[in-house]
Amino acid sequence: MDWLEQELKSALVRKEPSPGFSARVSNAARRPRIVAWPRWMAAAAAAILIAGGAAGYRQYQGMVAKEKVMLAMRIASGKLNRIQEHVMQVSR
C-alpha cells in the first residue's frame, strides 16, 4: 500500500453523524421555502408603485394649485369688495 492509498483510506473512512443530525435535517425540510418571484412580477410591482406615486403626486400638485387659486380669489374679491363698500358709502 503506497502513501496515496493510505491517504484515501483515511479520508474516506466511514464516520457516524453527530447526535441529532437526522432531527435537524427533517426540521429543515419542514420549514417553508422562500419562493423566488419571477422577474416580471417584480417589474410589475415596481410599475404599479411608480404609477401610484405619480398619481398621488399629481393629486398633491392639483390641491396645491387649487389652494393658490383660492388664495388669489380671496385677495382679489376681498379688495373688490372693499372698493365696492367705499363706492357705496360715497354714493349714500
Binding site: 383660492m70 382679489a76 367705499h86
Partner: protein, 169 residues
C-alpha cells in the same frame, strides 16, 4: 435664431402678466408677502380639482374657466412708509389708454385706503383687470387676464373665508 426664440419664450413666461409689477424689492421689507403667478394651464389644471357639486367651488370653477392668468403681489408691513408712492406709480404709469381705462378710484376712508380698478379692453371686449390697493402698511397689485366678470368675482365674498361686506340697499 434658436437663441432668439428661446429668449422670446422666456420673456413671455417672465412677463405673462399684462404689465410689469416692479415690486420685488419690497419683499425684504414686508412682514408678510404673497406672490402668486397662475398662468392659464395652471388655472385649468386647478379647475379639475374643484368640486362641481359644491355651490361655492362651482362658482370659482366657472369663473376661472375663462381666465388666462392671475398675478398677484401683496405686501404687508409692520410700519408706515415701507413702500413709497413711486412704487405704485411705476405700476400705474403702465396702465394707460387706449388699452387701459380706470373705472374706479377711491381715496381715504378707514386707514387711508387708496384703491383703483382698471379695465383692459380690446375691440370692445374686456381682456384684463388691474386692481391697485394700498394702505400705509399694505400694498397689493392684482392682474387678472381674460374676460373676467367683476360682479361674479366680488360675489365670491362671504365664501372661502372672504368677509362679506354689508352693502346698504
Amino acid at each position: 435664431m434658436r437663441g432668439f426664440m428661446l429668449v422670446a419664450v422666456c420673456a413671455t413666461a417672465l412677463y405673462a402678466q399684462q404689465f410689469k409689477f416692479n415690486l420685488d424689492h419690497l419683499a425684504a421689507k414686508a412682514s408678510e408677502s404673497v406672490d402668486l403667478s397662475l398662468n392659464g394651464s395652471t388655472l385649468q389644471f386647478a379647475a379639475k380639482f374643484f368640486d362641481g357639486k359644491d355651490p361655492d367651488e362651482a362658482k370659482v370653477k366657472k369663473l376661472i374657466s375663462s381666465i388666462e392668468g392671475i398675478y398677484i403681489k401683496s405686501f404687508e408691513f409692520k410700519q408706515d412708509g415701507a413702500w413709497s408712492p413711486a412704487d405704485l406709480d411705476s405700476v400705474r404709469n403702465q396702465l394707460r389708454a387706449p388699452e387701459w381705462s380706470r373705472i374706479v378710484g377711491v381715496k381715504g376712508g378707514e386707514g387711508s385706503e387708496n384703491a383703483e380698478v382698471y379695465l383692459r379692453s380690446e375691440k370692445g371686449k374686456v381682456t384684463g383687470v388691474a386692481i391697485l390697493y394700498s394702505q400705509p402698511r399694505e400694498l397689493t397689485v392684482v392682474n387678472i387676464i381674460g374676460p373676467i366678470d367683476l360682479e361674479q368675482l366680488a360675489a365670491l365674498s362671504g365664501h372661502f373665508g372672504v368677509p362679506k361686506v354689508k352693502l346698504p340697499k
